[in-house]
Protein backbone atom coordinates (compact mmCIF):
# COMPACT_ATOMS: atom_id res chain seq x y z
CA UNK A 1 0.00 0.00 0.00
CA UNK A 2 1.33 3.48 -0.83
CA UNK A 3 2.04 6.14 1.75
CA UNK A 4 -1.11 8.06 0.78
CA UNK A 5 -3.36 5.12 1.50
CA UNK A 6 -1.46 4.33 4.71
CA UNK A 7 -1.97 7.91 5.89
CA UNK A 8 -5.69 7.63 5.29
CA UNK A 9 -5.95 4.90 7.89
CA UNK A 10 -3.60 6.55 10.37
CA UNK A 11 -6.26 7.91 12.71
CA UNK A 12 -10.00 8.13 13.14
CA UNK A 13 -10.14 11.67 11.80
CA UNK A 14 -7.92 10.99 8.78
CA UNK A 15 -10.05 7.95 7.98
CA UNK A 16 -13.24 9.98 8.14
CA UNK A 17 -11.67 12.74 6.10
CA UNK A 18 -10.52 10.28 3.47
CA UNK A 19 -13.85 8.43 3.18
CA UNK A 20 -15.87 11.63 3.03
CA UNK A 21 -13.39 13.05 0.54
CA UNK A 22 -14.21 10.29 -1.95
CA UNK A 23 -16.16 11.64 -4.92
CA UNK A 24 -19.90 11.06 -4.61
CA UNK A 25 -21.69 8.55 -6.80
CA UNK A 26 -24.11 9.96 -9.35
CA UNK A 27 -27.01 7.65 -8.57
CA UNK A 28 -29.00 8.23 -11.73
CA UNK A 29 -25.85 7.93 -13.82
CA UNK A 30 -24.79 4.71 -12.10
CA UNK A 31 -28.23 3.14 -12.57
CA UNK A 32 -28.21 4.16 -16.20
CA UNK A 33 -24.72 2.93 -16.92
CA UNK A 34 -25.48 -0.45 -15.33
CA UNK A 35 -28.73 -0.67 -17.28
CA UNK A 36 -27.03 0.14 -20.56
CA UNK A 37 -24.28 -2.42 -19.97
CA UNK A 38 -27.01 -4.95 -19.21
CA UNK A 39 -28.36 -4.65 -22.75
CA UNK A 40 -25.30 -6.24 -24.36
CA UNK A 41 -26.19 -9.33 -26.32
CA UNK A 42 -23.93 -12.29 -25.55
CA UNK A 43 -24.48 -15.20 -27.91
CA UNK A 44 -23.03 -18.50 -29.16
CA UNK A 45 -19.34 -19.01 -28.37
CA UNK A 46 -19.18 -15.94 -26.11
CA UNK A 47 -22.17 -17.28 -24.21
CA UNK A 48 -20.53 -20.69 -23.89
CA UNK A 49 -17.42 -19.03 -22.47
CA UNK A 50 -19.47 -16.88 -20.11
CA UNK A 51 -21.49 -19.82 -18.79
CA UNK A 52 -18.43 -21.93 -18.04
CA UNK A 53 -16.71 -18.96 -16.43
CA UNK A 54 -19.79 -18.22 -14.34
CA UNK A 55 -19.97 -21.84 -13.16
CA UNK A 56 -16.32 -21.65 -12.11
CA UNK A 57 -17.11 -18.43 -10.23
CA UNK A 58 -20.02 -19.79 -8.19
CA UNK A 59 -19.75 -19.96 -4.42
CA UNK A 60 -22.35 -22.66 -3.96
CA UNK A 61 -24.13 -21.51 -0.84
CA UNK A 62 -26.40 -22.94 1.78
CA UNK A 63 -26.98 -20.72 4.79
CA UNK A 64 -30.18 -21.96 6.37
CA UNK A 65 -31.08 -22.76 9.91
CA UNK A 66 -32.33 -26.09 8.60
CA UNK A 67 -29.00 -27.14 7.05
CA UNK A 68 -28.05 -30.69 7.87
CA UNK A 69 -24.78 -32.54 7.35
CA UNK A 70 -26.54 -34.53 4.63
CA UNK A 71 -27.51 -31.41 2.75
CA UNK A 72 -23.99 -29.99 2.99
CA UNK A 73 -22.53 -33.26 1.74
CA UNK A 74 -24.91 -33.24 -1.22
CA UNK A 75 -24.01 -29.64 -1.96
CA UNK A 76 -20.30 -30.38 -1.81
CA UNK A 77 -20.72 -33.30 -4.20
CA UNK A 78 -22.56 -31.01 -6.53
CA UNK A 79 -19.74 -28.48 -6.29
CA UNK A 80 -17.30 -31.11 -7.56
CA UNK A 81 -19.48 -32.35 -10.43
CA UNK A 82 -22.22 -29.79 -11.04
CA UNK A 83 -23.47 -31.82 -14.00
CA UNK A 84 -22.75 -35.50 -13.34
CA UNK A 85 -23.91 -36.35 -16.86
CA UNK A 86 -21.19 -34.22 -18.42
CA UNK A 87 -17.57 -34.64 -17.31
CA UNK A 88 -16.53 -31.53 -19.27
CA UNK A 89 -18.53 -29.32 -16.90
CA UNK A 90 -16.15 -27.36 -14.63
CA UNK A 91 -16.32 -27.41 -10.84
CA UNK A 92 -17.48 -24.38 -8.89
CA UNK A 93 -15.09 -22.13 -6.97
CA UNK A 94 -16.21 -22.79 -3.43
CA UNK A 95 -18.86 -24.10 -1.10
CA UNK A 96 -20.18 -21.51 1.36
CA UNK A 97 -21.61 -22.75 4.67
CA UNK A 98 -21.96 -21.90 8.35
CA UNK A 99 -18.86 -22.57 10.51
CA UNK A 100 -20.20 -25.80 12.05
CA UNK A 101 -20.56 -27.30 8.57
CA UNK A 102 -17.04 -26.49 7.37
CA UNK A 103 -15.54 -29.83 8.40
CA UNK A 104 -18.38 -31.74 6.74
CA UNK A 105 -17.90 -29.89 3.48
CA UNK A 106 -14.13 -30.30 3.56
CA UNK A 107 -14.48 -34.04 4.15
CA UNK A 108 -16.41 -34.45 0.88
CA UNK A 109 -14.23 -32.06 -1.12
CA UNK A 110 -11.01 -33.74 0.02
CA UNK A 111 -7.95 -32.10 -1.47
CA UNK A 112 -9.69 -30.93 -4.62
CA UNK A 113 -9.05 -27.30 -5.51
CA UNK A 114 -12.47 -26.22 -4.32
CA UNK A 115 -12.47 -23.88 -1.37
CA UNK A 116 -14.66 -24.03 1.66
CA UNK A 117 -15.95 -20.60 2.58
CA UNK A 118 -17.53 -20.02 5.94
CA UNK A 119 -19.57 -17.10 7.11
CA UNK A 120 -18.52 -15.84 10.52
CA UNK A 121 -18.73 -12.88 12.94
CA UNK A 122 -22.33 -13.43 14.03
CA UNK A 123 -23.62 -13.70 10.47
CA UNK A 124 -25.95 -12.29 9.19
CA UNK A 125 -26.64 -9.40 11.59
CA UNK A 126 -23.13 -8.98 13.00
CA UNK A 127 -24.67 -8.02 16.32
CA UNK A 128 -22.30 -9.56 18.85
CA UNK A 129 -19.32 -8.55 20.95
CA UNK A 130 -15.96 -8.47 19.18
CA UNK A 131 -14.50 -11.41 21.11
CA UNK A 132 -17.46 -13.57 20.11
CA UNK A 133 -16.98 -12.57 16.46
CA UNK A 134 -13.30 -13.42 16.68
CA UNK A 135 -14.00 -16.76 18.35
CA UNK A 136 -16.53 -17.50 15.59
CA UNK A 137 -13.84 -16.76 13.00
CA UNK A 138 -11.12 -18.81 14.70
CA UNK A 139 -13.56 -21.67 14.97
CA UNK A 140 -14.24 -21.67 11.23
CA UNK A 141 -10.55 -21.35 10.34
CA UNK A 142 -9.60 -24.21 12.63
CA UNK A 143 -12.32 -26.36 11.11
CA UNK A 144 -10.56 -25.90 7.78
CA UNK A 145 -12.23 -22.93 6.11
CA UNK A 146 -10.21 -21.45 3.23
CA UNK A 147 -12.26 -18.29 3.08
CA UNK A 148 -14.05 -16.32 5.78
CA UNK A 149 -17.09 -14.21 4.91
CA UNK A 150 -17.44 -11.62 7.68
CA UNK A 151 -20.18 -9.05 8.06
CA UNK A 152 -19.43 -5.46 9.04
CA UNK A 153 -21.24 -3.74 11.87
CA UNK A 154 -23.70 -1.74 9.78
CA UNK A 155 -24.94 0.12 12.84
CA UNK A 156 -21.45 1.42 13.56
CA UNK A 157 -20.87 2.26 9.92
CA UNK A 158 -24.10 4.21 9.55
CA UNK A 159 -23.42 6.09 12.79
CA UNK A 160 -20.08 7.13 11.35
CA UNK A 161 -17.86 5.07 13.67
CA UNK A 162 -15.59 4.10 10.79
CA UNK A 163 -12.62 3.40 13.02
CA UNK A 164 -14.57 0.74 14.88
CA UNK A 165 -15.52 -0.99 11.62
CA UNK A 166 -11.92 -0.70 10.43
CA UNK A 167 -10.51 -2.16 13.63
CA UNK A 168 -12.96 -5.03 13.51
CA UNK A 169 -11.95 -5.96 9.98
CA UNK A 170 -8.27 -5.81 10.96
CA UNK A 171 -8.93 -7.98 14.03
CA UNK A 172 -10.93 -10.55 12.08
CA UNK A 173 -8.22 -10.66 9.44
CA UNK A 174 -5.73 -11.44 12.19
CA UNK A 175 -8.05 -14.19 13.45
CA UNK A 176 -7.97 -15.70 9.96
CA UNK A 177 -4.34 -16.69 10.53
CA UNK A 178 -3.74 -20.42 10.82
CA UNK A 179 -1.26 -22.19 13.10
CA UNK A 180 1.18 -22.68 10.22
CA UNK A 181 1.27 -18.94 9.52
CA UNK A 182 -0.85 -19.06 6.35
CA UNK A 183 -4.10 -17.15 6.33
CA UNK A 184 -7.67 -17.79 5.22
CA UNK A 185 -8.95 -15.31 2.64
CA UNK A 186 -11.17 -12.63 4.10
CA UNK A 187 -14.35 -11.50 2.38
CA UNK A 188 -16.09 -8.50 3.88
CA UNK A 189 -19.87 -8.33 3.53
CA UNK A 190 -21.43 -4.85 3.54
CA UNK A 191 -25.10 -5.79 3.31
CA UNK A 192 -25.60 -3.02 0.76
CA UNK A 193 -29.36 -3.29 1.14
CA UNK A 194 -28.90 -1.64 4.54
CA UNK A 195 -26.37 1.00 3.51
CA UNK A 196 -29.02 3.25 1.94
CA UNK A 197 -26.87 5.10 -0.63
CA UNK A 198 -24.27 4.37 -3.30
CA UNK A 199 -22.00 6.89 -1.57
CA UNK A 200 -22.05 4.64 1.48
CA UNK A 201 -21.30 1.60 -0.66
CA UNK A 202 -18.25 3.38 -2.08
CA UNK A 203 -17.09 4.42 1.40
CA UNK A 204 -17.59 0.94 2.81
CA UNK A 205 -15.63 -0.51 -0.11
CA UNK A 206 -12.65 1.76 0.49
CA UNK A 207 -12.84 1.26 4.23
CA UNK A 208 -12.74 -2.52 3.86
CA UNK A 209 -9.94 -2.40 1.32
CA UNK A 210 -7.87 -0.09 3.52
CA UNK A 211 -8.37 -2.53 6.38
CA UNK A 212 -7.01 -5.35 4.26
CA UNK A 213 -10.04 -7.22 2.84
CA UNK A 214 -9.20 -9.78 0.14
CA UNK A 215 -12.72 -9.64 -1.25
CA UNK A 216 -15.64 -7.29 -0.84
CA UNK A 217 -19.10 -8.82 -0.95
CA UNK A 218 -22.47 -7.13 -1.43
CA UNK A 219 -24.87 -8.94 0.82
CA UNK A 220 -25.70 -11.77 3.14
CA UNK A 221 -28.67 -12.86 1.04
CA UNK A 222 -30.91 -12.41 4.08
CA UNK A 223 -31.90 -8.80 3.35
CA UNK A 224 -33.77 -7.41 0.36
CA UNK A 225 -32.60 -5.86 -1.89
CA UNK A 226 -29.54 -8.12 -2.07
CA UNK A 227 -27.00 -7.76 -4.88
CA UNK A 228 -27.97 -5.37 -7.66
CA UNK A 229 -26.10 -4.55 -10.81
CA UNK A 230 -25.43 -0.84 -10.01
CA UNK A 231 -24.21 -1.63 -6.48
CA UNK A 232 -21.82 -4.24 -7.85
CA UNK A 233 -20.67 -1.72 -10.43
CA UNK A 234 -19.86 0.85 -7.74
CA UNK A 235 -17.85 -1.78 -5.88
CA UNK A 236 -16.01 -2.78 -9.05
CA UNK A 237 -15.11 0.85 -9.62
CA UNK A 238 -13.75 0.96 -6.08
CA UNK A 239 -11.51 -2.11 -6.48
CA UNK A 240 -10.25 -0.76 -9.81
CA UNK A 241 -9.48 2.66 -8.33
CA UNK A 242 -7.89 1.11 -5.26
CA UNK A 243 -5.45 -0.86 -7.39
CA UNK A 244 -4.75 2.22 -9.51
CA UNK A 245 -4.01 4.17 -6.32
CA UNK A 246 -1.32 1.66 -5.41
CA UNK A 247 -3.37 -0.70 -3.28
CA UNK A 248 -3.65 -4.45 -3.63
CA UNK A 249 -5.97 -6.17 -6.07
CA UNK A 250 -9.23 -6.95 -4.31
CA UNK A 251 -11.98 -9.32 -5.46
CA UNK A 252 -15.71 -8.66 -5.63
CA UNK A 253 -18.56 -11.02 -4.80
CA UNK A 254 -22.20 -10.13 -5.46
CA UNK A 255 -24.47 -12.44 -3.48
CA UNK A 256 -28.19 -13.00 -3.30
CA UNK A 257 -30.83 -12.46 -5.95
CA UNK A 258 -28.78 -13.62 -8.94
CA UNK A 259 -30.84 -16.52 -10.19
CA UNK A 260 -30.60 -16.70 -13.95
CA UNK A 261 -27.86 -17.13 -16.51
CA UNK A 262 -28.99 -13.90 -18.10
CA UNK A 263 -28.35 -12.02 -14.83
CA UNK A 264 -24.97 -13.67 -14.34
CA UNK A 265 -23.86 -12.70 -17.84
CA UNK A 266 -24.89 -9.10 -17.19
CA UNK A 267 -22.58 -9.09 -14.17
CA UNK A 268 -19.72 -10.51 -16.21
CA UNK A 269 -20.17 -7.77 -18.80
CA UNK A 270 -20.03 -5.15 -16.05
CA UNK A 271 -16.90 -6.77 -14.58
CA UNK A 272 -15.20 -6.65 -17.95
CA UNK A 273 -16.24 -3.10 -18.76
CA UNK A 274 -15.77 -1.49 -15.35
CA UNK A 275 -12.93 -3.31 -13.59
CA UNK A 276 -11.32 -4.91 -16.62
CA UNK A 277 -10.57 -8.43 -17.84
CA UNK A 278 -8.12 -8.99 -14.95
CA UNK A 279 -11.13 -9.53 -12.73
CA UNK A 280 -12.73 -12.11 -15.06
CA UNK A 281 -11.33 -14.92 -12.97
CA UNK A 282 -12.70 -17.02 -10.11
CA UNK A 283 -9.86 -15.67 -7.95
CA UNK A 284 -11.21 -12.13 -8.31
CA UNK A 285 -14.91 -12.39 -8.94
CA UNK A 286 -17.47 -14.74 -7.41
CA UNK A 287 -21.20 -15.26 -7.41
CA UNK A 288 -22.76 -16.09 -4.07
CA UNK A 289 -25.66 -18.24 -5.20
CA UNK A 290 -27.51 -21.50 -4.92
CA UNK A 291 -30.29 -21.54 -7.52
CA UNK A 292 -28.13 -19.79 -10.14
CA UNK A 293 -26.07 -22.93 -10.72
CA UNK A 294 -29.02 -24.99 -11.95
CA UNK A 295 -29.98 -22.33 -14.47
CA UNK A 296 -26.39 -22.14 -15.69
CA UNK A 297 -26.37 -25.92 -16.10
CA UNK A 298 -29.67 -25.87 -17.97
CA UNK A 299 -28.40 -23.20 -20.35
CA UNK A 300 -25.18 -25.10 -20.81
CA UNK A 301 -27.10 -28.23 -21.71
CA UNK A 302 -29.25 -26.23 -24.10
CA UNK A 303 -26.17 -24.94 -25.92
CA UNK A 304 -24.71 -28.42 -26.20
CA UNK A 305 -27.80 -30.40 -27.15
CA UNK A 306 -29.90 -27.76 -28.90
CA UNK A 307 -32.98 -28.52 -26.83
CA UNK A 308 -34.23 -26.79 -23.73
CA UNK A 309 -33.59 -28.68 -20.55
CA UNK A 310 -35.77 -28.87 -17.49
CA UNK A 311 -35.26 -28.74 -13.73
CA UNK A 312 -36.08 -32.46 -13.51
CA UNK A 313 -32.62 -33.24 -14.80
CA UNK A 314 -30.66 -31.45 -12.07
CA UNK A 315 -30.51 -31.79 -8.33
CA UNK A 316 -32.76 -29.50 -6.34
CA UNK A 317 -30.09 -27.58 -4.40
Amino acid sequence: MTAGLNDAAASESSLRQFLHGLPGVDQVGADQRAASLATRSIKTSAKEFAIDLAIRMVDLTTLEGQDTAGKVRALASKAIHPDPADPSCPSVAAVCVYPDMVATAREVLGDRPINVASVATAFPSGRAALDIKLADTTDAVEAGADEIDMVIDRGAFLTGRYQQVYDEIVAVKEACRRADGSRAHLKVIFETGELQTYDNVRRASWLAMLAGADFIKTSTGKVQPAATLPVTMVMLEAVRDFRDAGGAMVGVKPAGGIRTTKDAIKYLVVVNEVAGPDWLDPDWFRFGASTLLNDLLMQRTKLRTGRYSGPDYFTLD
Binding site: G306, R307, Y308, S309, G310, P311, D312, Y313
Partner: protein
Protein backbone atom coordinates in the same frame (compact mmCIF):
# COMPACT_ATOMS: atom_id res chain seq x y z
CA UNK B 1 -65.84 12.17 -41.91
CA UNK B 2 -65.55 8.54 -40.93
CA UNK B 3 -63.67 7.53 -37.82
CA UNK B 4 -60.13 6.23 -38.28
CA UNK B 5 -59.86 2.51 -37.57
CA UNK B 6 -57.93 1.40 -34.54
CA UNK B 7 -55.29 -0.88 -36.00
CA UNK B 8 -54.47 -3.67 -33.60
CA UNK B 9 -51.24 -5.54 -33.01
CA UNK B 10 -52.17 -8.45 -30.81
CA UNK B 11 -49.83 -9.94 -28.26
CA UNK B 12 -49.03 -13.32 -26.80
CA UNK B 13 -50.57 -14.69 -23.61
CA UNK B 14 -47.92 -16.05 -21.23
CA UNK B 15 -48.21 -16.52 -17.50
CA UNK B 16 -51.42 -14.50 -17.31
CA UNK B 17 -49.81 -11.46 -18.95
CA UNK B 18 -49.82 -10.19 -22.51
CA UNK B 19 -46.19 -9.73 -23.57
CA UNK B 20 -45.02 -8.91 -27.07
CA UNK B 21 -42.91 -11.52 -28.74
CA UNK B 22 -39.40 -11.49 -27.32
CA UNK B 23 -38.19 -11.30 -30.93
CA UNK B 24 -40.25 -8.14 -31.53
CA UNK B 25 -41.69 -9.75 -34.65
CA UNK B 26 -45.32 -9.68 -35.70
CA UNK B 27 -47.14 -10.85 -38.82
CA UNK B 28 -50.20 -9.66 -40.73
CA UNK B 29 -53.40 -11.62 -40.31
CA UNK B 30 -55.84 -11.75 -43.21
CA UNK B 31 -59.47 -12.68 -43.28
CA UNK B 32 -60.79 -15.55 -45.36
CA UNK B 33 -61.04 -13.29 -48.41
CA UNK B 34 -57.45 -12.10 -48.09
CA UNK B 35 -58.05 -8.60 -46.67
CA UNK B 36 -55.77 -7.35 -43.89
CA UNK B 37 -57.36 -7.53 -40.44
CA UNK B 38 -54.71 -6.99 -37.78
CA UNK B 39 -51.18 -7.85 -36.79
CA UNK B 40 -50.48 -10.76 -34.47
CA UNK B 41 -47.32 -11.51 -32.51
CA UNK B 42 -44.97 -13.95 -34.20
CA UNK B 43 -43.84 -16.16 -31.35
CA UNK B 44 -40.18 -17.20 -31.29
CA UNK B 45 -38.60 -20.24 -29.69
CA UNK B 46 -37.72 -18.11 -26.67
CA UNK B 47 -41.38 -17.21 -26.25
CA UNK B 48 -42.10 -20.93 -26.32
CA UNK B 49 -39.47 -21.45 -23.63
CA UNK B 50 -40.94 -18.67 -21.48
CA UNK B 51 -44.40 -20.14 -21.92
CA UNK B 52 -43.18 -23.56 -20.79
CA UNK B 53 -41.57 -21.98 -17.73
CA UNK B 54 -44.86 -20.21 -16.91
CA UNK B 55 -46.84 -23.41 -17.38
CA UNK B 56 -44.46 -25.34 -15.16
CA UNK B 57 -44.73 -22.70 -12.46
CA UNK B 58 -48.52 -22.85 -12.55
CA UNK B 59 -48.70 -26.64 -12.60
CA UNK B 60 -48.40 -27.41 -8.88
CA UNK B 61 -51.13 -25.04 -7.84
CA UNK B 62 -53.52 -26.02 -10.62
CA UNK B 63 -53.04 -29.76 -10.26
CA UNK B 64 -53.45 -29.35 -6.50
CA UNK B 65 -56.89 -27.80 -6.74
CA UNK B 66 -59.89 -30.01 -6.24
CA UNK B 67 -61.45 -31.38 -9.40
CA UNK B 68 -64.68 -29.70 -8.36
CA UNK B 69 -62.95 -26.31 -8.29
CA UNK B 70 -61.34 -26.87 -11.68
CA UNK B 71 -64.79 -27.59 -13.04
CA UNK B 72 -66.05 -24.31 -11.61
CA UNK B 73 -63.18 -22.41 -13.19
CA UNK B 74 -63.76 -23.96 -16.61
CA UNK B 75 -67.47 -23.22 -16.28
CA UNK B 76 -66.56 -19.63 -15.54
CA UNK B 77 -64.64 -19.47 -18.85
CA UNK B 78 -67.87 -20.47 -20.58
CA UNK B 79 -69.75 -17.71 -18.74
CA UNK B 80 -67.31 -15.03 -19.81
CA UNK B 81 -67.30 -16.32 -23.38
CA UNK B 82 -71.08 -16.14 -23.40
CA UNK B 83 -70.84 -12.45 -22.46
CA UNK B 84 -68.44 -11.84 -25.33
CA UNK B 85 -70.40 -13.80 -27.91
CA UNK B 86 -70.66 -11.05 -30.54
CA UNK B 87 -66.90 -10.58 -30.49
CA UNK B 88 -66.35 -14.30 -31.00
CA UNK B 89 -68.93 -14.44 -33.80
CA UNK B 90 -67.08 -11.63 -35.58
CA UNK B 91 -63.72 -13.31 -35.09
CA UNK B 92 -64.96 -16.66 -36.40
CA UNK B 93 -66.75 -15.05 -39.34
CA UNK B 94 -63.61 -13.19 -40.30
CA UNK B 95 -61.17 -16.07 -39.75
CA UNK B 96 -63.10 -18.97 -41.18
CA UNK B 97 -65.07 -17.15 -43.89
CA UNK B 98 -68.41 -18.50 -42.77
CA UNK B 99 -71.74 -16.67 -42.47
CA UNK B 100 -72.94 -15.08 -39.23
CA UNK B 101 -75.42 -17.89 -38.61
CA UNK B 102 -72.81 -20.63 -38.93
CA UNK B 103 -70.35 -18.65 -36.84
CA UNK B 104 -73.01 -18.17 -34.17
CA UNK B 105 -73.61 -21.91 -34.02
CA UNK B 106 -69.86 -22.52 -33.81
CA UNK B 107 -69.50 -20.14 -30.87
CA UNK B 108 -72.48 -21.76 -29.13
CA UNK B 109 -70.90 -25.16 -29.66
CA UNK B 110 -67.60 -23.92 -28.23
CA UNK B 111 -69.30 -22.58 -25.11
CA UNK B 112 -71.33 -25.76 -24.72
CA UNK B 113 -68.15 -27.78 -25.09
CA UNK B 114 -66.61 -25.93 -22.14
CA UNK B 115 -69.71 -26.56 -20.04
CA UNK B 116 -69.59 -30.23 -21.05
CA UNK B 117 -65.98 -30.58 -19.92
CA UNK B 118 -66.59 -28.54 -16.77
CA UNK B 119 -69.25 -31.06 -15.83
CA UNK B 120 -66.85 -33.96 -16.31
CA UNK B 121 -64.16 -32.40 -14.11
CA UNK B 122 -65.16 -34.20 -10.90
CA UNK B 123 -66.80 -37.19 -12.56
CA UNK B 124 -64.43 -38.72 -15.07
CA UNK B 125 -62.18 -40.06 -12.31
CA UNK B 126 -65.05 -42.29 -11.14
CA UNK B 127 -65.44 -43.65 -14.66
CA UNK B 128 -61.80 -44.28 -15.56
CA UNK B 129 -60.53 -44.99 -12.06
CA UNK B 130 -61.92 -46.80 -9.03
CA UNK B 131 -61.35 -49.84 -6.85
CA UNK B 132 -59.81 -52.87 -8.49
CA UNK B 133 -60.59 -56.39 -7.29
CA UNK B 134 -57.35 -58.10 -6.29
CA UNK B 135 -56.73 -61.50 -4.74
CA UNK B 136 -55.22 -60.48 -1.46
CA UNK B 137 -55.99 -58.47 1.66
CA UNK B 138 -55.56 -55.12 -0.11
CA UNK B 139 -57.59 -52.20 -1.25
CA UNK B 140 -56.38 -51.48 -4.77
CA UNK B 141 -57.32 -48.06 -6.07
CA UNK B 142 -56.64 -46.42 -9.42
CA UNK B 143 -57.08 -42.74 -10.13
CA UNK B 144 -56.12 -40.52 -13.07
CA UNK B 145 -53.46 -37.87 -12.40
CA UNK B 146 -52.47 -35.00 -14.69
CA UNK B 147 -49.50 -35.65 -16.96
CA UNK B 148 -47.92 -32.21 -16.41
CA UNK B 149 -47.13 -29.50 -18.91
CA UNK B 150 -48.77 -30.25 -22.24
CA UNK B 151 -47.84 -28.57 -25.51
CA UNK B 152 -50.91 -28.32 -27.70
CA UNK B 153 -50.64 -27.61 -31.41
CA UNK B 154 -54.17 -26.38 -31.94
CA UNK B 155 -56.19 -27.29 -35.06
CA UNK B 156 -55.33 -25.10 -38.03
CA UNK B 157 -58.82 -25.08 -39.49
CA UNK B 158 -61.33 -24.83 -36.66
CA UNK B 159 -59.90 -21.80 -34.91
CA UNK B 160 -62.37 -21.55 -32.03
CA UNK B 161 -64.34 -24.77 -31.59
CA UNK B 162 -61.27 -26.85 -32.36
CA UNK B 163 -59.12 -24.80 -30.00
CA UNK B 164 -61.58 -25.07 -27.13
CA UNK B 165 -62.07 -28.78 -27.79
CA UNK B 166 -58.37 -29.54 -27.37
CA UNK B 167 -57.57 -27.13 -24.53
CA UNK B 168 -60.52 -27.80 -22.22
CA UNK B 169 -59.83 -31.51 -21.59
CA UNK B 170 -56.17 -30.77 -20.96
CA UNK B 171 -56.80 -28.22 -18.24
CA UNK B 172 -59.89 -29.76 -16.71
CA UNK B 173 -57.82 -32.83 -15.77
CA UNK B 174 -55.24 -30.67 -13.99
CA UNK B 175 -52.56 -30.18 -16.64
CA UNK B 176 -51.22 -26.81 -17.67
CA UNK B 177 -50.59 -26.10 -21.32
CA UNK B 178 -48.79 -24.10 -23.95
CA UNK B 179 -51.00 -23.69 -26.99
CA UNK B 180 -49.71 -22.86 -30.44
CA UNK B 181 -52.80 -21.33 -32.05
CA UNK B 182 -53.83 -21.70 -35.68
CA UNK B 183 -51.20 -19.77 -37.65
CA UNK B 184 -53.50 -18.30 -40.30
CA UNK B 185 -56.51 -17.85 -38.03
CA UNK B 186 -55.14 -16.63 -34.68
CA UNK B 187 -57.77 -14.04 -33.79
CA UNK B 188 -60.28 -16.30 -32.02
CA UNK B 189 -57.38 -17.61 -29.91
CA UNK B 190 -56.38 -14.04 -29.05
CA UNK B 191 -59.94 -13.36 -27.90
CA UNK B 192 -59.92 -16.58 -25.89
CA UNK B 193 -56.75 -15.31 -24.19
CA UNK B 194 -58.59 -12.14 -23.22
CA UNK B 195 -61.40 -14.27 -21.79
CA UNK B 196 -58.96 -16.42 -19.82
CA UNK B 197 -57.26 -13.33 -18.41
CA UNK B 198 -60.58 -12.00 -17.09
CA UNK B 199 -61.96 -15.30 -15.80
CA UNK B 200 -60.71 -17.29 -12.80
CA UNK B 201 -58.02 -19.26 -14.58
CA UNK B 202 -54.72 -18.77 -12.73
CA UNK B 203 -51.96 -17.19 -14.82
CA UNK B 204 -49.80 -19.77 -16.60
CA UNK B 205 -52.40 -22.55 -16.74
CA UNK B 206 -53.09 -21.73 -20.37
CA UNK B 207 -50.44 -19.93 -22.42
CA UNK B 208 -51.24 -19.00 -26.00
CA UNK B 209 -48.65 -18.45 -28.71
CA UNK B 210 -49.56 -17.11 -32.13
CA UNK B 211 -47.45 -17.44 -35.24
CA UNK B 212 -45.88 -20.04 -37.45
CA UNK B 213 -45.65 -23.59 -36.12
CA UNK B 214 -42.22 -23.90 -37.75
CA UNK B 215 -40.82 -21.63 -35.10
CA UNK B 216 -42.49 -22.92 -31.96
CA UNK B 217 -43.46 -26.55 -32.55
CA UNK B 218 -39.94 -28.08 -32.73
CA UNK B 219 -38.92 -26.20 -29.56
CA UNK B 220 -41.98 -27.42 -27.69
CA UNK B 221 -41.63 -31.00 -28.93
CA UNK B 222 -37.97 -31.25 -27.93
CA UNK B 223 -38.25 -29.30 -24.64
CA UNK B 224 -37.21 -31.55 -21.78
CA UNK B 225 -39.60 -29.86 -19.34
CA UNK B 226 -42.71 -30.59 -21.44
CA UNK B 227 -44.42 -33.83 -20.47
CA UNK B 228 -46.78 -34.33 -23.38
CA UNK B 229 -47.56 -32.97 -26.80
CA UNK B 230 -50.79 -32.95 -28.78
CA UNK B 231 -50.03 -32.90 -32.51
CA UNK B 232 -53.62 -32.52 -33.74
CA UNK B 233 -52.69 -29.20 -35.37
CA UNK B 234 -50.51 -31.10 -37.82
CA UNK B 235 -53.44 -33.07 -39.25
CA UNK B 236 -52.60 -34.03 -42.82
CA UNK B 237 -48.87 -33.28 -42.47
CA UNK B 238 -47.42 -36.69 -41.54
CA UNK B 239 -43.83 -35.70 -42.32
CA UNK B 240 -43.62 -32.82 -39.84
CA UNK B 241 -45.61 -34.85 -37.33
CA UNK B 242 -43.13 -37.72 -37.57
CA UNK B 243 -40.18 -35.36 -37.03
CA UNK B 244 -41.85 -33.91 -33.95
CA UNK B 245 -42.67 -37.36 -32.60
CA UNK B 246 -39.00 -38.18 -32.90
CA UNK B 247 -38.01 -34.99 -31.05
CA UNK B 248 -40.59 -35.77 -28.38
CA UNK B 249 -39.05 -39.18 -27.78
CA UNK B 250 -35.98 -37.65 -26.12
CA UNK B 251 -37.72 -37.38 -22.77
CA UNK B 252 -40.43 -39.92 -23.52
CA UNK B 253 -43.20 -37.38 -23.86
CA UNK B 254 -46.69 -38.67 -24.11
CA UNK B 255 -47.64 -37.94 -27.72
CA UNK B 256 -51.11 -37.65 -29.16
CA UNK B 257 -50.50 -38.33 -32.82
CA UNK B 258 -51.69 -36.17 -35.67
CA UNK B 259 -54.78 -37.54 -37.43
CA UNK B 260 -54.87 -37.89 -41.21
CA UNK B 261 -57.45 -35.13 -41.44
CA UNK B 262 -58.83 -32.62 -38.97
CA UNK B 263 -61.59 -34.23 -36.90
CA UNK B 264 -65.17 -33.02 -37.07
CA UNK B 265 -65.24 -30.89 -33.95
CA UNK B 266 -69.01 -30.60 -33.88
CA UNK B 267 -69.22 -34.25 -32.78
CA UNK B 268 -69.56 -34.76 -29.04
CA UNK B 269 -66.16 -35.91 -27.81
CA UNK B 270 -65.73 -39.13 -25.87
CA UNK B 271 -63.84 -39.61 -22.64
CA UNK B 272 -60.70 -40.42 -24.62
CA UNK B 273 -60.00 -36.72 -24.92
CA UNK B 274 -60.00 -36.44 -21.11
CA UNK B 275 -57.79 -39.44 -20.49
CA UNK B 276 -55.32 -38.62 -23.27
CA UNK B 277 -53.20 -36.56 -20.90
CA UNK B 278 -53.61 -38.36 -17.60
CA UNK B 279 -51.50 -40.98 -15.93
CA UNK B 280 -53.18 -43.71 -13.95
CA UNK B 281 -51.90 -43.96 -10.43
CA UNK B 282 -52.62 -47.17 -8.61
CA UNK B 283 -52.10 -47.64 -4.89
CA UNK B 284 -52.20 -50.80 -2.83
CA UNK B 285 -53.40 -50.38 0.71
CA UNK B 286 -53.46 -53.22 3.21
CA UNK B 287 -56.83 -54.05 4.71
CA UNK B 288 -56.74 -53.93 8.49
CA UNK B 289 -57.78 -56.94 10.54
Amino acid sequence: MSRIDVRKTHKLFIGGAFPRSESGHSYPVHDAKGAFVANAALASRKDARDAVAAARKAFGGWAGRTAYNRGQVVYRIAEVMEDRKPQFVDAVTMSEGVGKAVAGRTVDAAIDRLVWYAGWADKYAQVVGGGNPVSGPFFNLSSPEPTGVVAVLAPQGSSLLGLVSVVAPVIVTGNTCVVAASADRPLPAVTVAEVLATSDVPGGVVNILTGSLDRTAPTLASHMDVNAVDLVGLAGDPQTAAALEEAAADNLKRVRRAPAAEPDWTQEPGLDSLTAFTETKTVWHPIGI
